[in-house]
């Protein structure tokens, strides 16, 4: 149990997927303009990454590894993720229109979010079993949500400020991310 909690904390804080691993930067920078959109995307990402980690782990342990088709994992994982996102979208549309309305438009974006594929591949690399993979996926996704919500709130404040012209647009967002990344480096001192 202790090791599972450690996996979540490592994924969410110590090895933050965005600020330390640089995965999912596209949506991290692109969607963080608005708070509400960021929170919704974060929710969708938690949902998809957790399920994708579970499915990818099962597929690897019971299909790819026994057949010795380790080299196929990139192709298989990305197709599974693409299909999974479609299924999740259809499922949510039918069963819970409320959730679909909140997360719906963000689901297609997630297929090309490298964090999803990245987590699936890292889980295999680290030799995680099924349970560990699910926890690691969940922790990573929570880390993503935390980072994007924090950046969105910073950007809401920045919008009102008088920023030197060359820094407007992308540079000031990247500088904010740099400062967040420095803050998150502090977590690397956590030890258990």
């Amino acid at each position: 149990m202790k090791s599972l909690i450690l996996i979540i904390i490592t994924g969410a804080l110590i090895n933050n997927v965005v600020l330390n691993q640089f995965l999912g930067i596209c949506s991290f920078l692109g969607v963080s303009k608005q708070m509400k959109a960021s929170a919704s995307l974060g929710g969708a990402v938690i949902f998809v990454i957790t399920i994708a980690s579970a499915v990818a782990s099962l597929l690897y342990d019971y299909v790819l590894a026994p057949l010795g088709m380790d080299f196929m994992k990139t192709i298989v994982f990305i197709l599974v993720i693409a299909a999974l996102v479609q299924i999740v979208e259809m499922f949510l549309k039918k069963t819970s229109p409320g959730v679909y309305k909140a997360l719906g438009i963000y689901l297609p974006l997630i297929t090309t979010n490298c964090a999803v594929l990245g987590v699936a591949l890292t889980n295999v690399q680290d030799g995680y079993n099924f349970i560990e993979s699910v926890f690691s996926g969940f922790g990573t996704a929570v880390g993503f949500t935390l980072a994007i919500v924090l950046l969105a709130s910073i950007r809401t404040r920045i919008r009102e400020e008088d920023i030197p012209a060359p820094l407007r647009g992308a540079p000031i967002v990247l500088i904010s991310a740099a400062l967040m990344s420095i803050a998150f480096m502090g977590f690397s001192g956590l030890s258990f």
Binding site: L19, N20, Q21, F22, L23, G24, I25, C26, S27, F28, L29, G30, V31, F71, M72, K73, T74, I75, I78, L79, A82, G104, I105, Y106, P108, L109, T111, T112, N113, C114, L117, G118, L121, T122, Q125, A165, P166, L167, R168, G169, A170, P171, I172, V173, L174, I175, A177, A178, L179, S181, I182, M185
Partner: protein, 227 residues
């Protein structure tokens, strides 16, 4: 200008994927700790991009419109797997340095973005030139970021000691925060030049993260339909 040469100019300068379109940020930030890594990542991505542009352009009349994205993903993922195996076999030190970011070329926005915005509408030769131009633009941007980070954070350039030993390098530049900082400064300098010459708009971040649709056109219109 010849339309093939124009593609090269477009990829390197006018629509530089990293510095103007802000695509493919993940590998740019992650592997730019060393200039050599930047070149390695840039060339691997360029190889995949040229071949995927070629294949997708050749297949553009065959692939049905409704399933084109999955089809592109299969093409790109196959090419990336081949590239990964080749790098593992022939350049093991680069394979170690780039690690997980080699398979992640599959989800690099530049590749799907060019497939969707260019290769599926143009002839194979033009698409290949587009891939070469974009690939060079990406490689140059990555190498530049890598060089600055390596110089400030480690005191070396392409592995050779540059800063005299009396000056301590600033370690933060090879740590994750340095990646964001250096890229911010490069873009700020470009913005400053752009403001002076009044040539173009300020660089802004992605089109809501919709990689496949993130092209220069959607940047100009300022918004993109997520659905």
């Amino acid at each position: 200008m010849n339309k093939y040469v124009e593609r090269l100019y477009n990829g390197v300068v006018k629509e530089n994927p990293t510095l103007i379109l802000m695509l493919g940020m993940c590998p740019t930030l992650a592997v730019s700790t060393r200039a050599m890594n930047g070149i390695g990542m840039g060339l691997s991505t360029m190889a995949v991009l040229i071949l995927s542009n070629l294949v997708i352009s050749l297949l553009r009349k065959v692939i049905p419109d409704e399933v084109r994205l999955p089809a592109y993903i299969v093409v790109v993922a196959s090419l990336v797997t081949v590239t990964e195996l080749l790098i593992e076999a022939y350049l093991p030190s680069l394979y170690e340095a780039l690690g997980i970011y080699i398979p992640l070329i599959v989800v690099n926005c530049i590749i799907l973005g060019r497939a969707e915005a260019y290769a599926n509408k143009h002839t194979p030769l033009l698409s290949v030139m587009d891939g070469i131009g974009m690939g060079i633009g990406f490689t140059l941007a990555l190498t530049l970021a890598g060089l600055i980070r390596e110089l400030l954070g480690n005191g070396t350039a392409f592995g050779a000691q540059v800063l005299p030993s009396g000056i301590d390098p600033i370690g933060i530049f090879v740590q994750p925060p340095g990646a964001f900082l250096v890229l911010a400064l490069i873009i700020a300098v470009m913005n400053a030049i752009g403001i002076k010459s009044r040539q173009r708009d300020l660089v802004d971040v992605g089109c809501d993260g919709v990689c496949a649709r993130c092209t220069a056109e959607c940047k100009k219109s300022g918004e993109v339909n997520a659905k």
